[in-house]
Amino acid sequence: MIRFYIALWASKLLYAINKMRGDERDDRPGLLAFKICPDFLARVAKPKLVITVTGTNGKTTTSTLLYNQLTDAGYKVSFNDWGANLHAGYCLNLLRGVTIFNKPRMDASLLEADENTLGHTMGMIEPNYILVTNICKDSLRRNGHPEYIFDRIEKAFEKLGSKTTAILNANDPISRLLAENTGTPRIFFGMNDAHTNPFENRVNDLGVCPVCGGDVKYNYRHYRHIGDYYCPDCDFKTPESKYYATDVDLEGRSIAIKEQDGSVNTYPLISETIYNAFNVLSMVTVAREVGIAPKTISKFLETQIVTKIRETCIKYNGIEYHTYGTKSQNVSAASTVFEYMAKEPSVKEVVFCLDEVQDRNHPSETLTWIYETDYEFLKSPNIKKIICAGHMYLNHKLRLLLAGIPEDKIFCVEEDERVPEFVDTEGIDKVYVLFEIDYVVKGGMWRDNIVKRAMELNGDDPSKLDSFDYFDNASNGSSNVKEVR
């Protein structure tokens, strides 16, 4: 116990110093707490409500929505919203929520959690709810394959048993099998056919029926392996949902969710994409379980937009210049974004800013993900050019050619700074800079340089361009769209 208090006080002191320096997001206090007291997570007092959000895709958006919702509903919440979704981040999250005497001073703790760490940590934290958004193909270096990630998350449920409630995606044939035999209460959310007409992916995350090895069939798919499925050879099928989206209008940005008592409530969506519709559905499920009224949630969602970490837009001279988070080595996320680029009807140019931070130490490692990702989706007449830069440029070029993209649409260079010279300033509606999520600022800088060149060519002063604070949370009401006049 003495060691725990030394850890608590030392890490709180370091946190206070960091706070004074304006460096609240530095998770070293959490790391210090863990180093001094390895079972810090078990000993630190928890607020009455602890929610963990995990899964391959949608963690950040869903947990940000949940944080904003809980705060809006009057909860005092500790949230690791700075992307520290590993052990140190959990320690920092929880130590911020207690006094120096280890008494809870928050109403809730919201943990965005990396799937890999769950087995080691959740048994100590004992969250009230664990939301698993989905399990899809992710970076192989970090996450191996979906079956491995399933096993890592399952370990948390094995340890927790009935001490937590699993909130699971009924439409995901992989993660819906979690906690089936652990004695953990399970709540499913699911969605009716949203008529997304998804493309077929090169790599199937599911492979075969996880129960009998048969060929899984779909009544409909939403994207990738997410949909309404069944196995003709056994009784494996989409389970019944407690929260079921009966009607999803992506264009009109609304979702009607039916609850077990038969009541149906309609909520606004934060964007027109199917994956963000799932993020809203999973967030509503948790909020309803916590006891927040549908009307309150609906009113709150009207104020929400996609976080700036994921997407921003500058409008100039009739063209929209977007940054768009893409998570390059996360194959499922990258393919889903490529599909969106093809289906979003505007005439556009797409810029790849997709090198990964960690690849500085692992050059050429990204070759595998490039061939798992569906570059074929980019063979769409509304995509006028694809511009790539960075050390993988030759690999992107080869892959694009193999995907059937005409050579005259492909512009690949090694030097980042040359990107703007290839982007047209007329004859297009939009430019999308698809950026690896670790490079939020770099992606923004590339986009800004493209806009600045357009301003120069148009005789405007590029210094007038005022960009974004990309880490400014969307909940404060500031827009993620700017117009340069």
Binding site: K137, L140, R141, R142, G144, H145, E147, Y148, R202, V203, N204, G207, V208, G213, D215, N361, H362, P363, S364, E365, L367, T368, Y371, E372, H391, L394, N395, K397, L398, L401, L402
Partner: protein
């Protein structure tokens, strides 16, 4: 037509391994591709094939594939002896060893080659690249690049059966520079994903082995990308 059998694409395509076969087939219209599902009898059992490809799998599916292939062990040995081309990538190479150890659990493998594998599922996944040289039985040499990302290593004496002499990186385990298995025309390596894209010169070599024209689709771009990666790996990891 030369017959190329892709074994169990629904199980063995977790890191775009299917691109190995797609790439070959796009390079030559003299290849007949046979995709055999896990619930079908492989074509190599029923008749002759010129090449067999097996890619990386999840650990559970690796065990399933061992059981599927076990009844055909003698036939596989026969095909290796008579020089049929085998390309075996990722952890599927372990299927051809004696056993795979996972904690206290030992999974008997096909026992065609004299090595064992051990999984370390609770240890951080091993990720690395390799640069090395393949020297074939007639002395032809190709500089090979590989990318490994794995939970397991293989142990044994690989000196007489190695596929690649590693220059940068590790071999079948961190203590050896001998990578993979090369016996007659059996090529096994832990490297993942689209191996022919990563090694266009080896793709050409295999096309020649198959007896077809060795011109690659987008050959200039494939070799440019290969040379850039080779130089980058040597610069950063050498």
């Amino acid at each position: 037509m030369k017959r190329v059998e892709f074994l169990f694409p629904e199980l063995c395509n977790i890191y775009a391994e299917s691109y190995n076969i797609e790439y070959l087939s796009r390079c030559s219209d003299e290849l007949e591709i046979i995709n055999t599902r896990h619930n079908e009898v492989p074509a190599f059992v029923k008749g002759e094939v010129d090449m067999i490809y097996l890619g990386c799998l999840t650990e559970r599916k690796q065990e399933k594939v061992i059981e599927i292939l076990r009844p055909y062990t003698d036939r596989i040995k026969e095909l290796i002896e008579k020089g049929t081309i085998f390309l075996i990538t990722g952890n599927s190479v372990e299927i051809f060893g004696k056993s795979i150890k996972d904690g206290d659990h030992v999974i008997p493998a096909l026992g065609i080659f004299d090595f064992t594998a051990t999984r370390y599922m609770d240890v951080e996944r091993h990720n690395s690249q390799y640069v090395g040289t393949f020297t074939d039985s007639e002395g032809e040499q190709i500089l090979m690049l590989g990318h490994r990302s794995q939970f397991s290593f293989a142990y044994g004496d690989f000196d007489s059966t190695k596929f690649i002499d590693i220059e940068i990186g590790i071999g079948m385990n961190p203590d050896t520079k001998a990578e993979g298995i090369y016996v007659n025309n059996f090529f096994g390596t832990y490297s993942l994903g689209p191996y022919f894209i990563m090694n266009p010169l080896f793709a050409k070599y295999i096309l020649r082995k198959l007896g077809v024209d060795d011109t690659l689709i987008f050959e200039k771009e494939a070799i440019e990308a290969y040379e850039y990666r080779r130089d980058e790996l040597r610069r950063n990891l050498g």
